[in-house]
Point group: C2
DNA sequence: CCGTATTTGTCCGTATGTATG
DNA sequence: ACATACATACGGACAAATACG
């Protein structure tokens, strides 16, 4: 338990090479607080901890514990809880408390259906609007995936996979779509974390799919990009079910 | 300005014919408060007033004014604001206040793109999972649309149109999809309300499209239902732009 | 440009409801 | 079943920032 500095956003610490003006933690905190309220900072920090699995699914979030852990009072925490509930990351039971959302297999399948549709639109729009630089950034991510595969670090691959799809989602140039997509992915992560199935997918096959997606997008083939991405999502869902031994729904 | 009774959910007032046990407003309030917090009630009430246009887009929501109007303190109101901000219905500016979200033409086009994709999935899944009763309910709505058309009440048609699509969305049997769909529709309504373009669409053409959609869904033709619904959304977007004189995006 | 009034941001106390022995 | 301990729900007070004259 500490102070406001706990919920400072994860600003990259910087290699500290710059001699210009090294901002102290205190000045950074002041700068951050000029724009963000404690409620939004608490929301972001809780979201990060939930998505990362630092706070496991099903956990009860005690108001005073969270407040003291974040170094704020209970007011901002309650506001953060409301926002997180709307985002689907926590569930609020009146007079009982708030709990980190648990996503069942059935709900995960629902999310996958929606995600497939959104990814399809992302592919379609990205093929129409992506820039050359963004295509190159996508290829760079896939290159790093190959290296990561060789060193066998599944967690790194998982992070790169997230980066790939988020990059693509941003390339679609549609903020509403981006927001909806991220919301779905966050909720799906709740399920993946709970089932400990992060990054253990079939990496070589997946990277092949990624490369095909990049090619389709770079070729401005909207239809193909859409189809490939829908398939990509449904296939990864099938892989997940296969690994878990759960029944995969048809179509 | 009044009391807690302001934010009682819109329970149908009942023709007051029942002699059994007529619950007083007070007992109703107690019953409601047993399940819902003042924050969620405030959220629902504010959402209703925003969607209905009762509170116009761009309005500044003063905390104490809203609190007194709803008969509660500022705490629950602030929690409701957090949730509404997450839902995209209001925008929060730190140390300035919260404002009802204004949706620009460009943002509305983004929403239409997403909505088209979601409606497509709705059509696909509804064709797979809809029940006979639900098909009949859809036909009933369209019948009422015809009558409404004859009496030329555009607002009624608008309400029926919402009911039709929400019914279809529920028939898709996917709660995540339903939630996302409703979120998009709510935000699109912000735009429609602002442009005063509710219900002035081409009604006869629209009802023909609705009937075709029902036929496709009833015939379990997933592909056709999906295509028809995507087209339906894009066409209604084009109609809107034509009426407003704004440039309609390609595709 | 400064002082005042209003509004937001935060914190804490109290009442009510829930879980536990 | 009762009493105790605890957590949440709500309200109100204080501080900081903004808006206005």
């Amino acid at each position: 338990m500490l102070t406001i500095f706990n919920l400072l956003p994860s600003i990259t610490p910087m290699p500290s090479a710059s001699t210009t003006k090294r901002p102290t933690d205190a000045s950074l905190a002041i700068e951050v607080l000029r724009e963000h309220s404690l409620a939004t900072l608490a929301q972001q920090e809780l979201e990060r901890r939930i998505i990362s699995g630092e706070i496991p699914a099903g956990s009860k979030l005690n108001e005073v514990d969270v407040a003291t852990a974040l170094g704020v009072s209970r007011g901002p925490v309650r506001e953060a809880f409301s926002a997180l509930a709307q985002a689907g990351l926590v569930r609020v039971e009146k007079n009982r408390g708030v709990f980190v959302r648990q996503v069942s297999v059935e709900e995960a399948n629902e999310f996958y259906e929606v995600r497939a549709a959104l990814e399809g639109l992302i592919g379609q729009l990205a093929a129409r609007r992506i820039s050359i630089d963004e295509v190159e950034a996508l290829r760079a991510v896939v290159r790093r995936m190959h290296q990561t595969h060789k060193s066998r670090k599944a967690d790194d691959y998982f992070a790169l996979n997230v980066e790939f799809h988020d990059l693509l989602a941003r390339a679609a140039r549609n903020n509403a779509l981006l927001a909806q997509y991220r919301g779905i992915v966050n909720q799906l992560d709740l399920y993946r974390r709970a089932t400990l199935m992060h990054g253990t997918e079939n990496i070589p096959v997946s990277t092949q799919e990624h490369e095909a997606i990049i090619d389709a997008v770079a070729a401005r083939d909207e239809q193909r990009a859409q189809t490939l991405l829908v398939e990509h999502v449904l296939v990864s869902r099938a892989r997940l079910h296969a690994a878990l031994g759960t029944p995969a729904p048809k179509a």
